[in-house]
């Protein structure tokens, strides 16, 4: 009888290796372990045996049953796995095909991106936003800033006039006057905005452009503080490897005045077309606030000191992205805007 049992076991295990499909497996299962299966058949013959043999056979057949049940279960899992694998193969994609975009992405103008970067760098340095109007009183745009009527330096900034008292602001500096007159010092302000100059449009001039003004008022603010602040600012925006230099200049509203150059972002300072071979690019004008301006705005220049700087956002944008013609920034060609 044991031989018969062994035969069933071996046959079943052998057949199991051949089974590829679930249906086949279930057939095998019932043909061996089912109600009329071969192993069940052996158990039915046990009645004819004596007690001792019966126990022996019972034990042996139970062991075979367990073994086969386990083998079938394993095979079942294996088949399921194979079937899933097949299904996966069927569903395999070329994962490099382009993705489907529900909504093609839009773009922020490069100037907005640059503006945010500069602004956020300054916010991180303790500056707070402030703003003033684009159409401005002559008094704030010029007179309060130490540029009285007929001052020759007024010719530095060709002005659009609305009437003899109102102009399109030529810089964001009138906001300095507004801040000095309304905000309680000490303070650090960043003031972005559009400005206007009578400049015919060409590759490097635009009658409308964007500036960002910085103004710091405190006690004992020095030229060296201005230098330190701008160094830190430049490194935040342009990276730690960029060099800066500050050279003397003139603005009626600052004294001493300076212009700040950074080492050329295109050639790294070796000299190229963008920096006109100098290795340097001018990015902003700045200085210690002129005492007349403080006094005109109601602050005692011997008690309070200040520095200010004005950054050309258009220019910095051009430098950052290597845009060689400022007109592109106002033409709104989608092929341009789509690049940023």
């Amino acid at each position: 009888m044991n031989e018969a049992l062994e035969k069933i076991r071996q046959e079943a295990l052998a057949r199991l290796q051949e089974v590829r499909e679930e249906k086949e497996l279930e057939e095998l299962n019932s043909s061996v372990l089912g109600r009329s299966g071969s192993l069940t058949g052996i158990l039915r013959t046990m009645g004819q045996l004596d007690k001792e043999q019966r126990a022996k056979l019972g034990q042996a057949s139970n062991a075979v049953k367990k073994e086969l049940e386990q083998a079938i279960a394993e095979r079942r899992a294996k088949i399921a796995q194979l079937m899933q694998q097949k299904a996966f193969e069927k569903e395999t994609l070329d994962v490099t095909e382009p993705g489907i975009r529900r909504q093609p992405s839009g773009r922020l103008h490069p100037m907005t991106q640059t503006y945010r970067e500069i602004r956020d760098a300054l916010i991180g340095m303790g500056f707070t936003t402030f703003h003033g109007p684009e159409v401005e009183y002559d008094d704030f745009n010029f007179t309060k800033l130490n540029l009285p009527k007929d001052h020759p330096a007024r010719d530095m900034q060709d002005t659009f006039y609305v009437n003899d008292k109102v102009v399109l602001r030529t810089h964001t500096s009138p906001c300095e006057a507004r801040a000095l007159m309304t905000v309680k010092p000490p303070f650090r302000l960043v003031i972005p905005g559009r400005v206007f100059r009578v400049d015919e449009v060409d590759a490097s001039h635009s009658p409308v452009f964007m500036q960002m003004e910085g103004l710091v008022v405190d006690k004992n603010i020095s030229f060296a503080d201005l230098k330190g602040t701008l160094d830190e600012f430049v490194h935040t925006v342009f990276g730690p490897d960029v060099k800066t230099r500050m050279r003397p200049s003139y603005f009626p509203f600052t004294e001493p005045s300076a212009e700040v150059d950074i080492s050329c972002t295109i050639c790294g300072g070796k000299g190229c077309r963008v920096c006109k071979g100098t290795g340097w690019l001018e990015i902003l004008g700045c200085g210690v606030t002129n005492p007349h301006e403080l006094e005109n705005c109601g602050l005692d220049p011997h008690e309070w000191s200040a520095f200010a700087f004005g950054i050309g956002v258009d220019r910095v944008t051009s430098l950052k992205y290597g845009i060689n013609d400022i007109r592109l920034e106002y033409e709104n060609d989608a092929r341009f805007l789509g690049q940023f």
Binding site: S105, G106, R107, L108, H109, M111, R119, D120, I123, G124, G126, F127, T128, T129, H131, E134, V135, D150, P152, D155, F160, Y161, V162, V166, L168, P186, R194, V208, V216, D218, K219, N220, S222, F223, A224, D225, K227, G228, T229, D231, M246, R247, P248, S249, Y250, E255, P256, A258, V288, N290, P291, E295, S305, Y330, E331, N332, D333, A334, L337, G338
Partner: protein, 801 residues
């Protein structure tokens, strides 16, 4: 400001290269736009000697020259010129030489003979007769005298000067002169400035026998000096003077006029020479112009002058416009026998106003506008007379007329050394400051904690007043070197930086629009009357209340925009023309409304411009709704039919919150698009950013998520065409229900077969639920029933079967 190196060398020891000079000046605050050699662009042209000359066998007019250019082998050059001869020294353009008009020399074969270069005419070298005698001869330029063979042509003709083009800041009027610039240049080079001394020419006789000066307006003319020269010998000025004038861009005229121009350049002081015979009684009157007066200036133009302008006149007539241009009637001519040299100080602001009115700025006027100072007037006068003497131009008459109402006294200021160091964050000793200042002729001395500074007459930018400490601090910083000042970080209070809530809002709006596929535009603020008309705006439309610019580029840019649409349409047109293929744009920008006397009202607007086949009024509205949703404002904003004239009737809506209108949207009127030449349909929305912002910030509070299931029901009603979706929503939301109505969605609107004419079917889906139990059928039916009854009674709706 043009500074010829040859002129600089009169006053400064030159010890650097041009590039080093440019950098040293830069550190002193003088930016150099560039420098040019006199014959820049001409290269590789050298002196050669014609050692042999023979006729070309195959040509009637060509000659073959053997030329020695100092090299081992002589060159063979074929020329068509007839004025060459053996032994002549000529300019030889070698292989690769550059000449004027972009000519580059290459060896060529001329009728079978190889020619290794070219002999040049003066014209080909860009030289005129004035540059080099014989240069304008029609043939090869024959060089005079002896020259080493192979010498550069620049050296040979004495045209090897370099002219620096220096950009001056407006505060340094004193450097608008060779003397002033050389003073700074010397200090920048660490050299001593060789200050010129003017030889006083006493002259003979008494000026008062020849001339007199009456200054009627001493405010506009603080100083007027005059000297007289008789027995004039009018002739061209000497070559050295002509060369220098030309180097700085001036045209030599005659010795007397050239002297005034030379002094203008050298001392930065404009002068004028009158023909004394044309000044009645020799009496110069400095007065305001009369009403309706006309002065014919040296350029032959009749100029109408007005009483606010200052004239130089004689007792009968104007002989010049002060500080701007002399009169034709008193011009120096070949016949002039006696002249009066004027060196005066006129008030810059007056000259500025005059030039603006006359639309005419001369070199002289530009200097007066920048500011000339009265002490310099006398120096200029003295220098001119010295030159008259040097050039033997006439007989100098004794005496000087000097009508001086200016403060020419010396100003001494006491600046605070510690304060200067505080401004700069430096520790420079007073003595060291004094030493540095001395290098630019500022006499200073440390006295205790003060620095006593004698302001030189030419430094009108240094103030005897509030600014003094800062003025001197700037000079000290400049001389000490900005690069030597160590950067420091601000001490004192620390600040928490803050991005204002309005800025945060703007950022979010822009980010949302970009997320919705829009590209951001930046358009100019300018527009014009034609654009307003093209937008079909009513005569009394608010959008015609534009701020007008007095001095615009043109009529089409003479107004400030009152809406973003015109700029955005301009840009869309450009994109269509270029087939860029993008359909969604947005812009955030200010618009302005004229407010009569005070500043205009400034509104920050968001503009959205959609176009193309995939867009519709509803895609635009959807974008707006999503934007509103972002700020929790969707339910608050009501849309109602209406809006500006540039939208298509029936397809436009105004957006309001309560009674306040916050925006508009709609399909752009086809006639507007036609004016812009734009194809297809275009949709535009414009939202007032600040108004919208004012309604943001409502707190979002969490609503507990119901544990009980939602029930969805659909409902289709038939209503009159005029009934709007907004009305239906209002009725539904106002219906009192015992259950909670979560979502109401209009998912279909249908007109046509099966629906009576003039009516439409609207299909809604609802979601109903309860906070505390699962809804039973009766409740659901009761709720739907209430809604239906409300729609029936208030909107005459019928249930669609």
């Amino acid at each position: 400001m043009k500074l010829p190196l040859s002129w600089l060398k009169d006053y400064v020891e030159w010890n650097v290269t041009p590039d080093e000079f440019v950098e040293k000046l830069m550190w002193r605050g003088f930016e150099c736009a560039g420098y040019e050699g006199e014959m820049d662009g001409i290269t590789n042209v050298v002196v050669g000697k014609i050692v042999a000359l023979r006729k070309h066998e195959d040509s009637d007019h060509l000659q073959i020259c053997t030329i020695d250019v100092g090299a081992e082998e002589p060159l063979c050059i074929v020329t068509g010129a007839t004025n060459v001869f053996e032994g002549a020294l000529v300019p030889v353009a070698m292989d690769g030489a550059h000449l004027t008009e972009g000519i580059v020399i290459k060896p060529t074969v001329m009728r079978g003979v190889k020619s290794y270069g070219m002999l040049c005419s003066g014209h080909e070298l860009g030289l005129s007769e004035a540059d080099y005698p014989g240069a304008e001869f029609n043939g090869i330029m024959i060089l005079h005298g002896e020259h080493p063979l192979g010498q550069s042509i620049q050296e040979a003709v004495g045209m090897d000067d370099i002219v620096f083009d220096i950009e001056l800041t407006p505060n340094r009027a004193d450097c608008q002169s060779i003397i002033g610039m050389c003073r700074e240049a010397a200090a920048a080079l660490g050299q001593r400035f060789k200050e010129p001394t003017i030889r006083h020419i006493e002259g003979e006789g008494d000026i008062h026998d020849y001339a007199s000066v009456t200054v009627e307006n001493t405010e506009l003319c603080p100083r007027y000096t005059a000297r007289v020269v008789t027995d004039l010998n009018i002739e061209p000025s000497p070559a050295w003077m002509q060369k220098r004038l030309r180097a700085v861009g001036m045209r030599p005229i005659n010795n007397i006029v050239d002297i005034t121009n030379y002094v203008l350049v050298e001392y930065g002081h404009p002068m004028h020479a009158f023909d004394l015979a044309c000044v009645k009684d020799g009496n110069i009157v400095v007065r305001n112009a009369y009403e309706n007066e006309i002065v014919t200036t040296l350029d032959g133009k009749e100029r109408a002058v007005t009483p606010d302008m200052l004239l130089i006149a004689d007792p009968e007539k104007g002989v010049g416009i002060a500080g701007v241009m002399g009169g034709l009637n008193s011009e120096i001519t070949a016949d002039t026998k006696a002249t009066l040299f004027e060196a005066a100080a006129f008030k810059g602001s007056s000259i500025r106003a005059t030039t603006r009115k006359l639309h005419h700025v001369t070199d002289a006027a530009a200097r007066f506008i920048k500011g000339v100072e009265p002490v310099n007037a006398m120096l200029a006068e003295e220098r001119a007379i010295e030159l008259v003497d040097e050039l033997h131009a006439g007989k100098v008459i004794g005496g000087t007329i000097d009508v001086c109402n200016a403060d020419i006294s010396e100003h001494i200021i006491y600046t605070d050394i510690a304060h200067i160091n505080r401004i700069l964050h430096t520790e420079i000793a007073g003595e060291d400051m004094a030493k540095m200042l001395a290098t630019i002729n500022i006499d200073a001395k440390a006295a205790g904690d003060k620095l006593k500074v004698r302001i030189p007459h030419f430094r009108t930018d240094i103030e005897d007043g509030l600014e003094a400490d800062w003025d001197i601090a700037e000079e000290v910083a400049r001389l000490y070197g900005y690069y030597n000042i160590k950067p420091s970080l601000m001490y004192g209070d620390t600040f928490a930086g803050k991005l204002g809530a309005d800025y945060v809002f703007e950022d979010k709006v822009k980010d949302e629009m970009a997320a919705q596929g829009c590209y951001e535009m930046y358009n100019y603020n300018f527009t014009g009357p034609a654009a307003l008309d093209a937008l079909l705006l009513d005569k009394d439309s608010e959008k015609r209340q534009c701020v007008k610019i007095l001095n615009p580029f043109g009529e089409d840019q003479s107004l400030m925009r009152t809406t973003l649409i015109m700029g955005m349409l301009d840009s869309l047109k450009r994109n269509q023309g270029r087939k860029t293929g993008h359909d969604r744009f947005f812009e955030v920008g200010n618009v302005h409304f004229d407010n009569n006397d005070s500043l205009p009202e400034e509104r920050k607007m968001l503009g959205l411009l959609f176009s193309g086949e995939n867009e519709s009024y509803f895609t635009l509205k959807g974008a707006v709704e999503q934007l509103l949703e972002k700020f929790n404002l969707f339910g608050k904003v009501e849309f109602a039919a209406g809006g500006s004239e540039f939208y298509q009737p029936g397809r436009k809506a105004v957006m309001s919150i309560g009674k306040e209108q916050v925006g508009e949207l709609g399909a752009v009127h086809p006639n507007v698009l036609k004016s812009w030449g734009i194809d297809g349909r275009v949709y535009f929305a414009e939202i007032d950013m600040n108004k919208l912002f004012a309604h943001t910030g409502a707190k979002r509070t969490y609503k507990p998520i119901s544990k009980f299931p939602k029930v969805a029901r659909d409902l289709a009603i038939v209503v009159d065409n005029k009934v709007t979706a907004a009305e239906v929503s209002r009725v539904i939301s106002q219906t009192k229900l015992k259950v909670i109505l979560d979502d109401v969605e209009l998912f279909d609107v249908y007109r046509g077969v099966g629906i009576p004419e003039g009516k439409k079917s609207m299909a809604y889906s609802f979601t109903l639920r309860s906070e505390d139990h699962t809804l039973v059928d009766e409740e659901i039916q009761a709720a739907v029933g209430s809604i239906i009854r409300a729609l029936e009674t208030r909107l005459k709706a019928e249930l669609r079967s």
